[in-house]
Structure formats: C-alpha cells, structure tokens
C-alpha cells in the first residue's frame, strides 16, 4: 500500500525516474514516512486504549522491594515497553534511588528504556522483518541486563550527587483514571498527540538519512564499509554522541541493511544512536558525577561493539 503511494507520488506526480538515485531516495522517503506515521498513530492509540503505557510512578511501584534479579528483569521489561521521554530520566533516577532500588537496576532501566520500545519493535518487524527485530530486542535486553550488573560492580553509589540521597518522595495519591471507553479514547488520543509531537522530527531525520543512504551510497562501498573489523567500533563511536529516538533509527537501519551493510555493524550503530547521546549525558549529569557517566558510556561502547562483532562473526 505504501509502496503504491510512493510509486504514485514520486514517479507519476513528480515524474522522477525509478532508476535514478534521486527517484529512489525520494521514493524511500515518501513510502517510509507515510508507513511509519501510520503505524505510529495506530500502535500508540491501541496501547493507549489498553492503558498499557505506564507512568514512571507505576514503574517505580512495580520495581521497588523486589529481589535484585527480579527487580532488574521487571525494570528492563517496563523500560522496554513504555516510550519514556528522556526528560523524565532525572525524576526516574531519583525516584528509583529513593525507593531503595539498587543503582545497577536503575542503570539497566536507563539502558533498556531508550533502546527498545514497542513502537520501534513493530516498525522493525514491518520494515526489516521479525527475525531481525527479535535479534535487536534480544541483544538489547541482554546489554541492559549485563550492563547494569557491571555498573553495580564499580560501586556507582559514590558518584551520585549528594542532594539525591536527601530527597524524600511523598505518596502521590493520584486520582483513579477514567476507565470508561470514552475516557480511554480521550487518553489514547492525547498520548498519540504527545508522543507524535516528541518524535516527528526524529522520524523525518531518520527517514531522510535513510533515503540519502538508499539513493546515493554505492552498493560495493556499503558492503565494504560494514565488513572490516574496525567498522563496528567506528559505527559505535560515530553513533554515540548523536541522538535520535529509537523510532527514527529504524529507517536508517533499513537502508543500511538493504545496501548490504553487515548486520552486526548495523545493530551496533542503531543501539549506539538510540542509547548514548550527549543530551542524555547532560541530563544524567544532574544526578551523577562525570566518572559514573564515563563508566556508563564506556560499558555501553564495549557492549555494543561486542554485540556487533558477535553478529558479524555469526553471519
């Protein structure tokens, strides 16, 4: 359906040739952005109707007071399921600390949350297939689990800002949500608006970069680019300071894979862009000191590189 729309707009209306680089790039842009926005609206609306989008307050209540392994699994799952705004990282961090949730579990959550969310997963399934979606999710969950455990070994408590320990949280006692069908509909619509407003620019940037890659990067070059051993750490290091939402990364990965860039290199690049970024580091700097941030970035860079090499070796 979206392919047909792309064909119509690009080849008929704009009169571009299907063989030209520009024609291919614009076609990718039109078809992918139409598809992604349609899926985004549908998925968020359904999640909203089911009230499956959890607030940070509820995540905290689910995780607190559990044994560490269970707390970690729960935190990762909930982080993966709900697309949190990175602007809530600070209150989440403080709320977790205040609830006595181990710091390693909090780091596991902070890794899983931006890297995986159900919207990105559905996009991955429909744009590059369920097998690769599964691989991405499994690798992401593993990195989040192990990454948090490694962070814990370094006793990160010593790097938490003093004031964080002093905050005492009250009990919110929020009003019960309106669970009538009308209430759910209103909530779902509001969520669609809210999340779209937050991610639309990342989608366009992602699709734009994907389109340029798709149209203009020569096949041979792309293949060589992904296969060399140093291409994985290079991809991770290039992706680390850059920020994009996990949703915006999907079309870039799609274009890379279509052009034959190695799977491991693509995965490592995706994870690095979605999880590590300068804005996220600056936000987290409000609650933890530089050594902890450096360690956090270091652990993730190593983990993503290992994931990338692993999958390239298997292929």
């Amino acid at each position: 359906m979206f392919e047909t729309l792309g064909d119509f707009v690009v080849f008929r209306l704009l009169g571009l040739s299907a063989e030209s680089a520009a024609g291919q790039a614009v076609h990718f842009f039109v078809a992918d952005s139409a598809k992604i926005f349609a899926l985004l609206v549908a998925i968020i609306y359904v999640m909203g109707l089911l009230r499956a989008l959890l607030s940070p307050e509820r995540v905290r209540a689910f995780v607190r007071g559990r044994p560490t392994w269970l707390a970690r699994s729960t935190a990762i799952t909930l982080g993966a399921v709900t697309p949190f705004c990175s602007c809530s990282s600070v209150p989440l961090f403080i709320g977790f600390v205040e609830a006595g949730i181990p710091l390693g579990v909090t780091f596991s959550f902070l890794i899983a949350s931006p890297m995986i969310n159900e919207v990105a997963v559905v996009l991955l399934v429909s744009l590059i297939g369920w097998k690769l979606a599964l691989v991405y999710v499994a690798a992401g969950l593993t990195v989040a689990y192990v990454g948090g455990m490694i962070m814990e070994r370094f006793r990160p408590e010593r790097w938490v800002e003093e004031y964080v320990w002093k905050i005492h949280m009250g009990e919110a006692g929020l009003a019960e949500p309106d669970n009538s069908l009308r209430g759910r509909h209103a909530y779902a619509l509001a969520e669609v608006r809210e999340i779209l407003r937050r991610v639309w620019k990342w989608v366009f940037i992602g699709v734009g970069v994907g389109a340029l890659f798709h149209g203009f990067v020569p096949l041979d070059w792309a293949r060589q680019l992904g296969d060399a051993w140093y291409s994985v750490p290079a991809a991770v290091l290039v992706g680390a300071p850059l920020y994009s939402n996990a949703i915006g990364v999907v079309p870039v990965a799609e274009a890379m894979l279509v052009k034959g860039v190695a799977l491991g290199t693509t995965l490592a690049f995706m994870m690095s862009i979605a999880t590590l970024s300068i804005p996220e580091m600056l936000i987290l700097r409000k609650v933890i000191k530089w050594p902890a941030l450096a360690l956090f970035a270091g652990v993730l860079v190593v983990a993503f590189t290992l994931v990338g090499w692993g999958f390239n070796l298997m292929a």
Partner: protein, 77 residues
Amino acid sequence: MKDVKVLGSGCRNCETTGQLIQQVADECGVTIALEKVQDIAAIMAYGVMSTPGVVVDGKVVHAGGVPDRKKVESWLS
C-alpha cells in the same frame, strides 16, 4: 480562592499547562494563586515523577502531560 501549583522544571509543557490554567480561571471568573514549582526535590515531595504535574489546594490532581481543558475546569469549579 484556590491555591494551584504547577510542578515542572521549566519544560515547554509546563509553561503551557500554567498558561492554560490561568486562562481557564480568568474565563470562569475564579481567582487563583498560581505558583510554579521548579525545584526537583519539591516536585518529588509530592510523589510526582512525570511532569508537568498539577496540585490544587495541596492535592495532586494530575501528572504527566498537559491536562485537557475539561479537566482544568473541573478542578476550578
């Protein structure tokens, strides 16, 4: 007179929420004391982690996202 606090560390949604509440109050002819709470410790003392949050007469009535107009009207009436 109602005592209304908007919890949020200066994000755009928090600004919007404050303006919306003031606007609804003016339209309904209700006098309110509107206060912005930007200190993270004070915000979390209310048990709110997702901003913007709204507190009316000491009670948290909303958290996470800009509230819709109908909701605001119901708090002020």
